[in-house]
Symmetry: C2
Subunit: 459 residues, 2 copies
């Protein structure tokens, strides 16, 4: 670990014991859940308000110190790794729910609020927050990576669910990106510019998100298939039929095996879809019946229903724990996760070709997917002590990305660019990549906002 730079005395004066150079805390803030090599920041700051973030950023700007925002550290593309050191801004203490606007079905929260915290707060109201990336994450982090998750197919990703942001810019200015109106044509869409910018254009300190009415009825089922191809075709036909399925998740046989072991379940070890239907009782019954017919036509076995809440929670808990279940397939392993997303018409081909290649490699490589969106992940489980395994995973990931791009898809559906996809961004975007560089150079001329992430160079 390199010696930390001199910390500006104004920063120490501003934050007192809410600024730390404790090596253990710095180390914890220098990595996420991925296999990206960690690098600690020089210090970690714990601001409690937007104004304080603005002051921190202004001080850092005057000392040319890099700034890296930090939520829960639950991302997987190395977005929080402080490769150039600098000050990590941990937003964890900015965890106030500012207002729940029930009539407007939205919520104003500080960036450090997590999706679990918000939904617990909404318990007992008719409303819920939809975006569900699995592991616990802050809304600021989820906005920054344009996160999505299991029910994006019905409710959209963070892109669709953020109404506005409060952002601290690289020079310490504070902006609010929009009003609280549901729609607007008033100028450039700054909300969507900062959603997905991964802290490279500014620090998100407050988020206004849409809420939805809790459905009157929910039903959940899993269905095993004779082939992954048929599972994917079932999903495509479901979407095309206009059935408003709330969740439809694919786990391949390797993943299901991992989930069975980890959560003590006995699902058939076969490619499997997890479905959730939401609506009125009548509508849920109707949706489920329609999907069951589609599944049968594509080699699906009988639906296994989880109708009561306990069963349903057990099933989705198993799905949400899938990441940890997969890691447990190889104790001590780190994961290298792929995240391509392609037009659904190409998804079956993309998965088939990918599986064929991956099945030949030596690494455990479970697959799961938000297939309604055309998005799937493979977790390569690698021994962190064996660099040749990381190299193998990177080689395979590169081929998967190239395949997705050749199918008019994207290198990252929901995890962000971080460090992991910086080399692919210019390939995916061509000339548009230079426009991103121009915007970065304009809003962060010193290249201090999470430098080295998203865009490798800014000139």
């Amino acid at each position: 670990m390199s010696d930390p730079r001199t910390i500006p005395p104004e920063l120490i004066e501003l934050l007192g014991d809410r600024l730390t150079i404790d090596p253990i805390i710095r180390e914890k803030h220098g990595s996420d859940e991925s296999s990206h090599a960690p690098h600690p920041p020089d210090a970690v700051a714990y601001p409690e308000s937007t104004e304080e973030v603005a002051k921190i950023v202004a001080i850092c700007a005057s000392h040319a110190l890099p700034i890296v925002p930090f939520g829960k550290g639950s991302a997987v593309e190395g977005g929080v790794v402080a490769i150039h050191g600098g000050i990590c801004i941990d937003l964890g203490r900015m965890n106030q729910i500012l207002s729940i606007n029930r009539e407007d079905m939205d919520a104003d929260v500080q960036a450090g609020v997590t999706q679990f915290q918000l939904n617990e707060h909404l318990d007992g109201t008719p409303l819920f927050f939809s975006v569900d990336p699995g592991g616990e994450a802050t809304l600021g982090g989820m906005a920054s990576t344009r996160a999505s998750g299991t029910n994006t197919v019905r409710y959209g990703a963070m892109r669709e669910n953020v109404l506005r942001l409060t952002v601290v810019l690289a020079d310490g200015r504070i902006i609010r990106t929009a009003s609280r109106a549901r729609k607007s044509s008033a100028g450039y869409d700054l909300t969507r510019l900062f959603v997905g910018a991964e802290g490279t254009l500014g620090i998100i300190t407050e988020v206004t998100v849409r809420l939805y009415r809790r459905p009157e009825a929910i039903s959940t089922a899993i269905c095993a298939f004779d082939s992954i191809d048929n599972a994917v075709r079932t999903v495509i036909e479901t979407i095309q039929s206009g059935i408003p399925v709330a969740r439809v998740e694919l786990l391949d046989e390797v993943s299901i095996d991992a989930v069975n072991r980890y959560s003590d379940l006995d699902y058939s070890v076969a490619p499997t879809l997890f479905f959730e239907f939401q609506g009125t009782s009548a509508s849920v019954t109707e949706q489920a019946a329609s999907v069951e017919v589609i599944a049968q036509q594509h080699g699906g076995l009988a639906f296994q229903w989880a109708t009561d809440e306990v069963d349903r929670e057990r099933l989705w808990h198993a799905r949400h724990q899938a990441y940890y279940a997969m890691l447990a397939l190889r104790p001590g392993a780190r994961s290298m996760t792929t995240d391509v997303c392609v037009p659904v018409s190409r998804l079956a081909d993309c998965i088939r070709e990918t599986k064929r290649e991956v099945d030949e490699c030596s690494l455990p490589s479970p697959l799961l997917g938000h297939v309604g969106d055309g998005n799937f992940h493979i977790l390569f489980l690698i021994d962190p002590e064996r660099p040749e395994e990381l190299a193998e995973a990177e080689r395979l990931n590169r081929r998967i990305v190239e395949r997705a791009l050749s199918m008019d898809g994207t290198c990252t559906g929901e995890h962000g660019v971080g460090l992991g996809k910086v080399d692919f961004l210019p390939i995916e975007h061509g000339e548009a990549f230079h426009v991103m560089q121009q915007i970065k150079a304009t809003l962060d001329p010193q290249d201090l906002m999470n430098p080295g992430k998203v865009l490798k160079q800014t000139s």
Copy 2:
């Protein structure tokens, strides 16, 4: 009309007779459907490809000639008025539907394709394009103004329905803003940056839009109310109940009277909601029954159903003709249209206070609204020969905008900024306005792309 500037000979060479300085054509391209004072461009160009647009822009850039994109001229905020002259790029000949991707439920089209043309093309398929601003508009224009319309409450605005764009930048570079994947976290959201930029950052030449499955069943009804307040409360409660109403439109008694006269109908002259329900037969029946109960609880009279397609089309035709019906209330009048959008919790207050003020003015002022989104319009019908009437309408509009902003709303829900809202933009956005100026200055340093629109000054 001022003498046109010298047209660069390269432009004439490039376009031949697809470049015109005909005064009548120039005049037609210098105004939209609003009361904004027209100003013709120096010439009108009719490119047939993205590459040709790029060449035109590059030539204009080298001669410092302003560039104004033109679709159908159906907007109402003066966005196409060539206040600084220059070259109007009429995208009307770029009207090719490039591909319909049925499995992916999207369409690639050139920017000059209209929503009617696309939906006619989709006749006989299970798919339709949802965004419905009423009058005929090009998809490029709709993307540029971030348009929405009657079924935004269910299907979203252009912001949600554009998957990607091809854009010609101010220096003639051509970019594609995204892949065709349904979601992506790969870098800055350039798609959303150009959606709503009204041609001030670049010219949209191709658009990829989402398509939806045609519903199995549709039913439509109107319902009159004893007060506009109760009509609005019915809508709010409908949305909060999670009923996926496809359309819910408010017409006040003045508008209904106009529609009756114009379309030879005999609806009760009272505040009225137009509803449309879409889904399976069972779901449509269920939705309609739920909404009928809510309406009854809020002073709604009996629903008048339009169940067969002829009735339904007559009803929505009447609604779509409402703009022209209102204009016909005062033959020879031009309209000055307001477009505020507020959080729905404030909508009843906003409409009540606005109506009270408007009822005292001397101008015919029908009101209609996409109330599910919190968005409503008042059409002030003014005699173009009497500047005091325009001044009166502008005074009232200013008060309506101030009211909306004080309610955390926006000055324009769907019409764009154009010329009409440029003074309000800095008030609405505060410091964020300067970020918009920075982006404009970066991507259009010569201020040639639709100059004077959206942002009054770029320095």
